[in-house]
Amino acid sequence: MTEQQHKDDNSLDDQNLIDLAKRHFFKKLGMVGATGAAAATGVSAAVELVKEPNKPSWGGATFSDAMGDFFQDHYTRMSDEEMNDALERIKRKAKRKFGVDITCEDTKPMPDTYFGYALNISKCRGYRECVEGCIRENNQGRDSQVQYIRVLEMDEGDSNLEHSDHYYDPATVPVAGKYYMPVQCQQCDNAPCVKACPVEATWMDTDGIVVIDYNWCIGCRMCMSACPYWARHFNWTEPQIAAEDFNPNTNYLGNRPRMKGVVEKCHFCTQRTRKGRQPACMEACPTGARVFGNLLDPESEIRWILENKTVFRLKEELGTEPKFWYYTDEARART
């Protein structure tokens, strides 16, 4: 697509979106209480709009994109057309904000899949390669240092999390007398975060993955209080990612760019696993400690582990029913 074409498409889109936004706006104006901040930014955006309709002045977006974002409906209520518009907006925004051309899809769960994860503690050496792989794959803010996986350094013979070291130096591992326990979203079947969310911005999909619609989250952080695994992270500021570090293959309920003021967490790499690939942390792990798979497939490796190994789940007494299991080899490999 030439630059000119691209621009034309954009302005056409913009005009439609403005009309749509206006219609929505007047319909909803009476009900939606205008906040001071919104009013102020709205006025300045309107002034900019008169001067130059396609200038990205509204928080790095054009006025029409900002309005499109503002009125975007809940994931489950969006028509295909609305979803396409949303995906286009995401791509445009990524271009403006991060200077990257990304693809963004809305990849649905595969039929007859229910994902689970098993982690072999005896194999984990605490290299934190999974953490790094996850960040590269899932476009977490680099300055804000959002990490979906926490690897805890634990004393041998002690599984009290309060005695764990969160900030050990991965260059020195493995350390004698220590073992390592990575913790990430446990994809609970009975997820406290889903129950706590006041706006249903997070839910469990049919493949068992607890996902978040980042455009619907209001940032109240109720889910963060509810999570017993400290798996949820808030964007305290606008995520900053260098263009060359950006993973351009993104998914709507997955690793697409997030905005400030919303919660995110591990989503079992929906952009990969819903296409039959491994999650990034499993691919990054140098010791083969991680096993991801379909729990409904009796031939899968994860099913073999659940049937043949002694497994445990974190904080099982809370009744959260995680789909994340820990297990050990019979004799743990010594360092």
Binding site: H74, R150, L152, V183, P198, M222, H233
Partner: protein, 424 residues
């Protein structure tokens, strides 16, 4: 309708008129609100990174104040019950001030939630019909419902009564009594739901206790009357509205009882956690004794305990409770003590250590406090206007009825007469 228009216009005129002291007070509040607008614009553009909050401690000063002021709002019921259920005439004459305080406190509480959420622009997502409301599952959804209804009740009922008085009419209580009863239950519900917002989290052992809601109610019934006693004295000093001393005496007794219950609940929690200390006691240990060398809240909580004990002593000794100077000291100490204990002490401590055992401390930033001052000021602003208008209507100085011409108000009884009636 025409009369209602006149009522609103007269109310607005009353709000705009006042002596130099009134203007200075309102200007002061507006300046504070301005500070909030400025601070919040920074939070809006830069994100909540300007606060002291973190993934580890994800709620702090804002939510602590939210919880506290929901309690103040609930305490409005402490005038409603004696006025309408026990038919105390002295209390009934000031019940409108209690309702104004409840309404203003709800405004403050909602203000603190508004600044705490990361995407205020998406607030419409919680609106039934427009958004998607996770009700009845989410406790926050419940809280939004009960707070809004309480706001409405505290706006609608006093307005109805005042509007009638404005026309020189007296509505029989039985006509709106059902709404009074609903308000009383609702007051308890708002604070219960706020407590459950915390105690429903199985991930946070410190909050996950059935005692949370009773603790919230008892501490609210301490801090609420404390504020009310001071406000009633201010009304008495700066207006000619009759405030009977018997009301203040009643509130002081309520406060004395509620504070004992509140401290008893704290003691019960301490015993359960410390008798045989399990890992679930870690937060409590952090709060009172410090944990692994971190003790950021220790001096605060012991200060709170001290303040509350002194306040309790002053309230329990008959002489010091009757003496206005010592009573006021008790009110200030009790108010501050509860604010520390259930505000920062209760909310922040729940996050330390994190569910993965990390200890990460929190203290509010200057910006966070900047955002907060105007929210308090907004509450005071709303309260001042509501009270001013209500008093003018109740004293019959504005209105569309014949008493205006005669210069005789609705409340012809002086404070002494009211008191005498109450004693009888």
């Amino acid at each position: 309708m025409k009369v209602f228009y006149a009522f609103v216009m007269d109310g607005m005129k009353t709000a705009l008129k006042g002596g130099p002291l009134y203007y200075m007070w309102m200007l002061f509040l507006l300046v504070l609100i301005g500070i909030t607008a400025w601070s919040y614009s920074h939070q809006w553009t830069e994100g909540m990174v300007i606060t002291g909050l973190s993934d580890q401690v994800s709620w702090g000063f804002y939510i602590a104040n939210f919880a506290f002021f929901v309690g103040i709002a609930a305490a409005g019921v402490l005038l409603t019950v004696p006025a309408y259920i026990f038919h105390r005439k002295d209390v009934k004459s000031v019940v409108v001030i209690g309702e104004a305080m409840a309404l203003s406190a709800v405004v403050v509480a909602m203000g603190f939630v508004a600044v705490d959420i990361g995407r205020l622009d998406r607030a419409w997502h919680v609106m039934p019909g427009l958004g998607k409301f996770n009700w009845p599952n989410s406790m926050l959804a419940w809280d939004i419902v009960v707070l809004n209804v309480y706001l409405f009740l505290n706006l609608f009922i006093p307005m109805y009564i005042l509007f009638k008085h404005y026309q020189g009419k007296e509505t029989p209580v039985r006509k709106y009594f059902i709404w009074i009863v609903i308000t009383c239950f609702w007051a308890i519900s708002i604070h219960t739901v706020t407590a459950w917002l915390l105690s429903s989290n199985v991930a946070r052992p410190f909050w996950h206790t059935a005692l949370m809601a009773p603790r919230f109610i008892s501490s609210a019934f301490t801090a609420g009357p404390a504020l009310m006693i001071i406000i009633l004295q201010l009304v008495r000093r700066y207006t000619d509205y009759p405030v009977s001393q018997s009301v203040i005496k009643m509130l002081a007794v309520i406060m004395a009882i509620a504070l004992q219950i509140s401290l008893y609940f704290v003691a019960a929690e301490l015993f359960t956690d410390f008798y045989f200390e399990g890992t679930h006691a870690a937060s409590m240990h952090y709060l009172f004794l410090g944990l692994d060398g971190f003790d950021g809240l220790k001096s605060w909580i012991w200060t709170a305990v001290g303040l509350n004990l002194v306040a309790l002593t002053l309230l329990m000794v008959h002489k010091t409770r009757e003496n206005m100077v010592t009573l006021n000291i008790a009110c200030v100490l009790g108010f501050v003590g509860i604010w520390i204990e259930k505000g920062m002490g209760l909310v922040v401590t729940g996050f330390i250590p994190t569910p993965l055992g990390e200890i990460f401390e929190y203290s509010p930033t200057l910006m966070e406090i900047g955002v907060s001052v105007g929210i308090y000021a907004l509450g005071a602003f709303v309260f001042t206007i509501l009270t001013k208008v209500a008093i003018e209507v109740e004293l019959g100085r504005i209105g569309k009825h014949k008493n205006i011409l005669k210069g005789v108000g609705n409340i012809s009884d002086t404070a002494e007469q009211v008191e005498a009636a109450a004693v009888k």
